[in-house]
C-alpha cells in the first residue's frame, strides 16, 4: 500500500447515500464520500453542518438510517466503535475521553484487550510515541499533562490498533500554533506510511496546507468536493456558508478615553483540584478599547471571568476597580448596577437555562439591573411579563435572532442564534464595560460576524470591551490590544498591530518575556526525555 496507488481505482473508504434522520430532521442527507489510500481528506463545514454525525456513523457510535459504507471495496456494517477499530478505523475525538486520575498507559489499556499486560502496553506506547514524534511518558498521570499531550494519548491509542483510517475531529482547536505544527508532522508521517486521515476542521488555512482533497458539507448535504490547494480561503468559506460572510468593519483608530475597568495584581487560589489558580493578574481597559485575551482553553480564562464578573468575588476589594469604584468584594448584580455586562462562555446552564423561554432568560441576567422596568409590586417583586416580552422582541430584532414561535425555550435555538440573543441581552443595556468569554465559540460564521461587529461598534460608542477568546482570527479581527493568558498568568498587553501569530503562540505556550511559564514547557521536555529513555 503506497501513497502513489490510484485514488480513484480502489478507495479505502467509500460512502454512498449515507443518511441519518433524527425524527424528521436529516442531520446527514445522502452523503457521498471517497477516501483514498494514503490521503489526508478534509471534511469542512460550519457547526451543525453534519460533520460530527457523519464521523460518528463511520466510527459506529451512531447507526445510519440508510446508505452504505464500503471499506476497500467490501460493504461493511459498523455497529459499534469496537467493530470500527477491528475494521481498521481509529478516531480522535475533539473532547478527550481520558481519566485524569489514571496514568497514560492505564488510559490506553482501557481501550484494548483487557488481557494485555500493562507493562507491554507501556512499552508499545513508548515505541509508537517515539516513532511518530509524539513524546509521551507512559507512567505520567493525565491530570499533570497539557492539552497537547492529552491529545497525543488519544492519537497513540488510535495508532496502537494499527488503523488504516484515522479520523481527527477538530484536532487543532485546543493546540498552540507550535503544537499544531508538530501534529502536522505526525500526520505527514502517517500519510507516508499509506494510512489515510479524515481531518475535520473549520480552519481553512491548515486544511489548504496539509489536505489532499476536501469535502464540504452544508445543512447535512455535500456542497462541494475540491482540491483545497486550488481554492482560496474565500472560495472555501463560500462553499461552507453558502453566501459571502460579511467582514467586520472598524475604523482604524478609536479614540481612547478613561480607564473603565482595572484589575490590580489579583491572585485567586483554585476552587477545585482541576481549576486553574490566577496568579498576579493586572489589566486595564479604557473607553473605546477592545482588549482581547488570547490563550488555550483551560489556562484560567473562566476563572478570570468569574473574578471580573463577581460570580465568585475576590478577597481584595481594591483588586478590581470598575469605573473608579473598588468592587472586588461586590457580587455580580452590584457590578451590573455600575454599568458592567457579562457574557459567559457556556450558553446552556450558565448564560441561559435551556428549558426556560427567551423572555425568562432575559430576566435571568437583568432582574436586578432593570428592576424598575421588569418588576412591580415592591417587596412582592411581581414579574412584569409584558415589559419583558417586548424587551425580548426588541433584542431579537436588533440581533436578528431566528427562532420558531413567539417566545421559544432557549434550548430550541441554534447555538448561533442563542448566542446572538445572549450578547444582545447585554448590548440592549448599553453597558459601559462588557466582558465576553468566547463570544463566538461553536457559532456559525454569519452569527459570529454579526456578534463581532456588535462588539466593535460598542467599543466605538465609548464602552470598554474585554473579549476572552481562543480564536486568533477573531482576536486579530476585533482587538485593539492583545494580552495572552497562560497557566493563570496574564502577559503584558500589546497593541494589536505589533504582535505576530508566532509571538502569540509563544506566549500561549507560557514563554513570557517577564516571567517564564515553567510548567507547560517544562512538562513537555520531561515527557520527551522519559519517552526516549524507554
Amino acid at each position: 500500500m503506497t501513497s502513489s496507488e490510484g485514488v480513484e481505482a480502489s478507495p479505502l473508504l467509500s460512502v454512498r447515500g449515507l443518511t441519518k434522520l433524527f425524527g424528521s430532521f436529516a442531520a446527514c442527507d445522502a452523503i457521498d464520500l471517497d477516501i483514498g489510500h494514503g490521503e489526508i481528506h478534509a471534511l469542512l463545514g460550519e457547526n451543525g453542518a453534519g460533520k460530527s454525525t457523519l464521523v460518528k456513523m463511520l466510527f459506529g457510535v451512531l447507526q445510519p438510517s440508510s446508505g452504505t459504507v464500503s471499506l476497500e471495496g467490501k460493504p461493511v456494517v459498523i455497529p459499534s466503535p469496537g467493530e470500527a477499530r477491528r475494521l481498521g478505523i481509529g478516531m480522535v475525538f475533539q473532547h478527550f475521553s481520558l481519566f485524569e486520575a489514571l496514568t497514560v498507559a492505564e488510559n490506553i489499556a482501557l481501550s484494548l484487550d483487557p488481557r494485555t499486560p500493562l507493562a507491554k502496553i507501556a512499552e508499545e506506547t513508548a515505541t509508537i510515541s517515539k516513532a511518530y514524534g509524539l513524546p509521551l511518558d507512559p507512567s505520567a498521570h493525565v491530570a499533570d499533562l497539557s492539552v497537547g499531550e492529552r491529545q497525543r494519548i488519544e492519537i497513540v491509542r488510535a495508532l496502537l490498533q494499527n488503523p488504516k483510517l484515522i479520523i481527527l475531529d477538530e484536532p487543532t482547536s485546543v493546540l498552540t500554533p507550535q503544537e499544531a505544527e508538530r501534529l502536522f508532522e505526525t500526520l505527514m508521517r502517517l500519510k507516508a506510511e499509506g494510512r489515510s486521515v479524515l481531518y475535520i476542521s473549520h480552519r481553512l488555512e491548515e486544511v489548504q496546507r496539509i489536505c489532499d482533497r476536501a469535502t464540504v458539507l452544508r445543512h447535512g448535504k455535500v456542497t462541494g468536493a475540491c482540491d483545497p490547494k486550488h481554492e482560496t480561503p474565500a472560495s472555501l468559506a463560500r462553499m461552507m456558508v453558502g453566501t459571502e460572510v460579511a467582514e467586520v468593519k472598524r475604523d482604524s483608530a478609536n479614540t481612547l478615553g478613561d480607564i473603565l475597568l482595572q484589575v490590580n495584581k489579583v491572585s485567586v487560589a483554585s476552587r477545585t483540584p482541576f481549576a486553574v489558580a490566577l496568579k498576579d493578574i493586572s489589566l486595564k481597559v479604557r473607553a473605546g478599547e477592545v482588549l482581547a485575551i488570547a490563550g488555550i482553553a483551560g489556562n484560567g480564562q473562566s476563572e478570570l471571568f468569574d473574578a471580573i464578573s463577581g460570580e465568585y468575588p475576590i478577597a481584595d476589594n481594591d483588586g478590581i476597580v470598575l469605573r473608579g469604584k473598588p468592587v472586588g468584594r461586590l457580587r455580580i448584580n452590584g457590578r451590573r448596577l455600575l454599568g458592567a455586562g457579562f457574557v459567559p462562555e457556556e450558553r446552556h446552564g450558565h448564560a441561559a437555562v435551556s428549558a426556560l423561554s427567551l423572555s425568562d432568560n432575559l430576566l435571568l441576567a437583568r432582574s436586578r439591573s432593570d428592576k424598575k422596568a421588569f418588576l412591580a409590586g415592591g417587596p412582592l417583586a411581581i414579574v412584569k411579563r409584558d415589559a419583558i416580552l417586548s424587551a425580548a422582541r426588541r433584542i431579537c430584532s436588533m440581533m436578528d435572532v431566528r427562532k420558531s414561535g413567539e417566545d421559544p425555550a432557549a434550548g430550541s435555538l441554534s447555538g448561533g442564534n442563542l448566542q446572538k440573543f445572549i450578547v444582545g441581552r447585554e448590548l440592549d443595556r448599553q453597558p459601559s464595560v462588557l466582558v465576553v468569554n468566547q463570544p463566538t465559540w461553536g457559532v456559525d460564521a454569519g452569527a459570529a460576524s454579526r456578534i463581532r461587529q456588535a462588539l466593535v461598534d460598542l467599543a466605538k460608542a465609548g464602552s470598554a470591551v474585554i473579549v476572552i477568546s481562543q480564536d486568533l482570527d477573531e482576536i486579530f479581527e476585533i482587538a485593539t490590544t492583545i494580552a495572552v493568558i497562560s497557566d493563570g498568568r496574564l502577559s503584558d498587553p500589546y497593541p494589536a498591530g505589533e504582535l505576530t501569530l508566532e509571538q502569540i503562540g509563544l506566549l500561549m505556550g507560557g514563554i513570557h518575556d517577564s516571567h517564564s511559564g515553567e510548567k507547560s514547557s517544562g512538562g513537555d521536555q520531561t515527557g520527551m526525555e522519559t519517552a526516549h529513555a524507554h
Partner: protein, 362 residues
C-alpha cells in the same frame, strides 16, 4: 440484546396532561388484580375502597381532615423539589411542629385566652422550620446530602415524641396511658361546619396552595426557585444565591409541615400521643409529584391520596383486609406516575446487537 430508553424527539402535550389520570387508571387496574388475588370481588372492593367514602357527609369531612396535612406539606415540598433541594424529612418536621405547638396547652392547661391558638400555630411553624433548618445548615456548611440528614432526623423526632408522652408530658390522671392531657377548648382548632369534624386545617392548606401558586407563577422568588433548581451556575450568573435558596426552601417547607403537625394535633386529635401521623410527611412526597409539583395540582392530588387512607380504613372494616393496603395503593400510584412520566419522555427500544457475540471474543 439490551433494553434502551430512547429520548423522544418531541413529547406529547396531551399525554403530559393526561399522565396523572393515566397513572390513576393503571393504579385502579392493578388494585383490582390485587383484590382478585386476595379472593375478594375486584369491582365491589374498588367500590368500597374508592367510592363509598365519598357518599356521606361524615366521610367527606374525614377526607378534608386527611387531605389538609397532605396538601400543606406537599405544597412546601413542591417548592423544595423545584429548587433541587430534596427534603425527605417532612414527617419529622410535622412531628416537631406538633410538639412545639403543644408546649403552651400542655404546660399551661389553665390558660384560657383566645391568644393561645394563634401562638400555638406560630410556634408549630417555628418548630418545624427550625427542625428543617438542621439539614439546611448541614448542607450549606458541610455540603452534606439533605436527603439523608432530613430522613434520619425523622426517626429522632418520632422517638423524641415517644419519650415526651411516656415521660415528662404524660397526663398524671391518664391511667398511665402514654398521652398528654386533652387540650383546653381555647387550644382546639375550630371546626368549619357544624355537619362534621373538618377543622381549619384544610383552610390553611388551600390558602398556602394558592399563595405558593401565586409566588411560583408571578413573583421573582418563584423565578429564582426554578432557575436555581435547573442550573445553579445560571442562578449564580443571575446573582441568585443557591445557599439562600437552600435556607428559603427548607424553612418554608419545614414551617408548613410544622403547621400541618400542630393543626393535626390541635384539630383532629386534641392531645399529644406517641403516634400522630399515618405517614403524612412521606405520603406528601407522592402528593407533590402526582400534582406535578404545581400547587394547584397538589390540591387535587392531596384529596386523591387522602382517599387512599380513608379507603384503607373502609377496607379494613368492610372487607377485612389489613389497612396496609393503603400503603400498597400509595406505592402503586407513585410507581405509575413516575413510569408514565418516563414513557412520555422516552421510548423503550429493544436493541438486538449482532456484534455482541464478537465483542466478547476480542
Amino acid at each position: 440484546m439490551r433494553i434502551e430508553l430512547q429520548k423522544r424527539a418531541n413529547t406529547s402535550m396531551l399525554f403530559s396532561l393526561l399522565s396523572p389520570l393515566l397513572a390513576l387508571a393503571l393504579t385502579l387496574i392493578a388494585g383490582a388484580i390485587m383484590f382478585g388475588l386476595l379472593g375478594k370481588s375486584p369491582l365491589n372492593s374498588l367500590y368500597i375502597y374508592f367510592v363509598e367514602p365519598l357518599l356521606d357527609v361524615w366521610s367527606l369531612h374525614e377526607l378534608a381532615i386527611k387531605a389538609a396535612p397532605l396538601i400543606l406539606i406537599a405544597v412546601g415540598l413542591s417548592v423544595c423539589f423545584r429548587s433541587n433541594n430534596w427534603n425527605i424529612g417532612a414527617e419529622g418536621q410535622f412531628t416537631i411542629g406538633a410538639i412545639t405547638g403543644s408546649i403552651l396547652p400542655v404546660l399551661n392547661p389553665e390558660w384560657h385566652s383566645p391568644l393561645i391558638l394563634p401562638l400555638m400555630l406560630v410556634m408549630g411553624m417555628i418548630g418545624g422550620a427550625l427542625y428543617a433548618g438542621i439539614p439546611a445548615l448541614l448542607k450549606t456548611r458541610f455540603n452534606t446530602n439533605e436527603i439523608l440528614t432530613s430522613l434520619m432526623l425523622v426517626y429522632i423526632a418520632q422517638l423524641f415524641l415517644d419519650w415526651l408522652v411516656r415521660g415528662p408530658w404524660r397526663d398524671p390522671q391518664g391511667y398511665n396511658f402514654p398521652q398528654t392531657k386533652s387540650f383546653q377548648p381555647e387550644a382546639v382548632l375550630p371546626e368549619i361546619l357544624d355537619s362534621g369534624r373538618a377543622h381549619l386545617g384544610i383552610v390553611f392548606a388551600l390558602i398556602a396552595a394558592v399563595a405558593l401558586w401565586f409566588m411560583m407563577r408571578f413573583m421573582l422568588k418563584g423565578f429564582q426557585v426554578s432557575v436555581l433548581g435547573q442550573s445553579e451556575r445560571a442562578g449564580r450568573f443571575a446573582g441568585f444565591s443557591a445557599r439562600r435558596m437552600v435556607w428559603f426552601s427548607m424553612l418554608l417547607s419545614g414551617s408548613l409541615a410544622g403547621l400541618a403537625g400542630i393543626s393535626e394535633v390541635s384539630g383532629s386529635i386534641g392531645h399529644v400521643q406517641p403516634v400522630i401521623s399515618p405517614g403524612y410527611g412521606f405520603t406528601a412526597i407522592i402528593v407533590a409529584f402526582l400534582g406535578r409539583l404545581n400547587p394547584l395540582g397538589i390540591i387535587a392530588s392531596g384529596f386523591v391520596l387522602a382517599l387512599t387512607y380513608l379507603g384503607g380504613e373502609a377496607a379494613q372494616l368492610s372487607l377485612g383486609i389489613s389497612d396496609k393496603v393503603s400503603r400498597v395503593f400509595q406505592g402503586l400510584i407513585l410507581f405509575f406516575v413516575l413510569s408514565c412520566d418516563t414513557l412520555i419522555h422516552y421510548r423503550i427500544r429493544l436493541i438486538v446487537n449482532p456484534s455482541a457475540a464478537q465483542e466478547g471474543k476480542s
